[in-house]
C-alpha cells in the first residue's frame, strides 16, 4: 500500500511540474519546473530498484542539464520578459495530437498482455551494471564515450564566438 502511495506521489511530482514546464508563460519558471519532474522520475527509479540510474539521473538531469538550460535562457535574454508570447498558434492542434497519441499508446498498453515474470524485486547493484558495461556492452560503453567527446568538440565549435 505504501508502495502505491509512494508511486502516486512520485507520479504527481513528476507530471504536475511537467505540465508547468510546457505551459508556463515564464520560461524561467518552466526551466525550474524541470527539477521536480526529474526528481520525481528519480524517485520512480528508486521505486524500481534502479538506484544507480537514479543517481545518474540526479547528477546529469537535475544537475547538469537544467543548469545548462538556465544558463542559455539567461544568455539569450529569454528570461527577461514574460510578455513575449511563449506558445505558437497551433496549441489546440498540438494538444489534440498529444492527447490522441497518448490515448493510442495507452490503449495499446492496456490491451497488451505483457510477459510478466513475477519475480521478487531483484537487487541491482552498481557492480552488475559496471560489469555489463565492460563485458557485454563494452562497445556501447566505448562509443558512448566517443559520443561525449565529439559532442563536446561540436558544442565548443558551434558555441564559440567567431572572431
Amino acid at each position: 500500500m505504501g508502495e502505491l502511495a509512494a508511486f502516486i506521489i512520485l507520479a504527481c511530482v513528476t507530471l504536475i511540474p511537467a505540465v508547468v514546464v510546457v505551459t508556463s508563460g515564464n520560461i524561467v519558471r518552466s526551466a525550474l519546473s524541470l527539477i521536480p519532474t526529474f526528481l520525481g522520475v528519480t524517485g520512480l527509479y528508486i521505486l524500481l530498484h534502479a538506484e544507480f540510474v537514479a543517481g545518474i539521473q540526479i547528477l546529469i538531469y537535475a544537475g547538469a542539464i537544467t543548469v545548462l538550460i538556465l544558463f542559455v535562457i539567461m544568455l539569450t535574454a529569454g528570461g527577461t520578459g514574460t510578455r513575449i508570447r511563449q506558445v505558437n498558434e497551433q496549441v489546440p492542434l498540438g494538444a489534440m495530437a498529444a492527447v490522441w497519441l497518448g490515448f493510442l499508446i495507452l490503449l495499446v498498453i492496456f490491451r497488451t498482455r505483457w510477459p510478466y515474470t513475477a519475480t521478487p524485486a531483484p537487487q541491482y547493484n552498481v557492480a552488475s551494471i559496471g560489469t555489463a558495461f565492460l563485458t557485454d556492452y563494452v562497445l556501447i560503453f566505448e562509443v558512448t564515450s566517443l559520443v561525449l567527446l565529439v559532442s563536446l568538440i561540436g558544442a565548443i565549435i558551434v558555441a564559440r564566438r567567431e572572431e
Binding site: A50, F52, A97, G102, T117, A121, I140
Partner: protein, 103 residues
C-alpha cells in the same frame, strides 16, 4: 492494490505526451528542448520499468536508460550551442522567427 508495470507505463506515456505537447506548442527553442527532455525521460521510465518487471535478471534496460541519459546531455549541449549560435546572428530564439528559408 499493487504497483505494477502498467502504472509506470501510464506515467511514462503521459509524460511523453506532455513533452510532445511542449515540443509542438512552444516558440522558444529552449522550451522545445525541455519538451524533448521530458520525452526522453518517459522512455527511460519505460526502460527501467520493463527491466524491473520483465527482465529482472539482466541490466539491459538500465544500461539503455543510462545511455539515453548521456545522450540527452549531449543533445542538450549541442542543441543549446546551436541555439546560441543562431541567437547571435538572428537575435531570436523563437523558432517561428528562425524562418529565412521556406518552400
Amino acid at each position: 492494490m499493487h504497483v505494477g508495470l502498467t502504472h509506470y507505463l501510464v506515467v511514462s506515456t503521459i509524460l511523453f505526451c506532455i513533452g510532445l505537447y511542449g515540443v509542438l506548442t512552444r516558440r522558444n527553442a529552449v522550451a522545445i528542448l525541455m519538451g524533448i527532455e521530458l520525452m526522453l525521460n518517459a522512455s527511460n521510465i519505460n526502460l527501467v520499468a520493463f527491466n524491473r518487471y520483465l527482465a529482472p535478471g539482466a541490466v539491459g534496460g538500465q544500461t539503455f536508460a543510462l545511455v539515453i541519459i548521456t545522450l540527452a546531455a549531449c543533445e542538450a549541449a549541442v542543441g543549446l550551442a546551436l541555439v546560441m549560435a543562431a541567437y547571435r546572428s538572428l537575435e531570436t530564439i523563437h523558432v517561428d522567427e528562425i524562418n529565412v528559408m521556406k518552400w
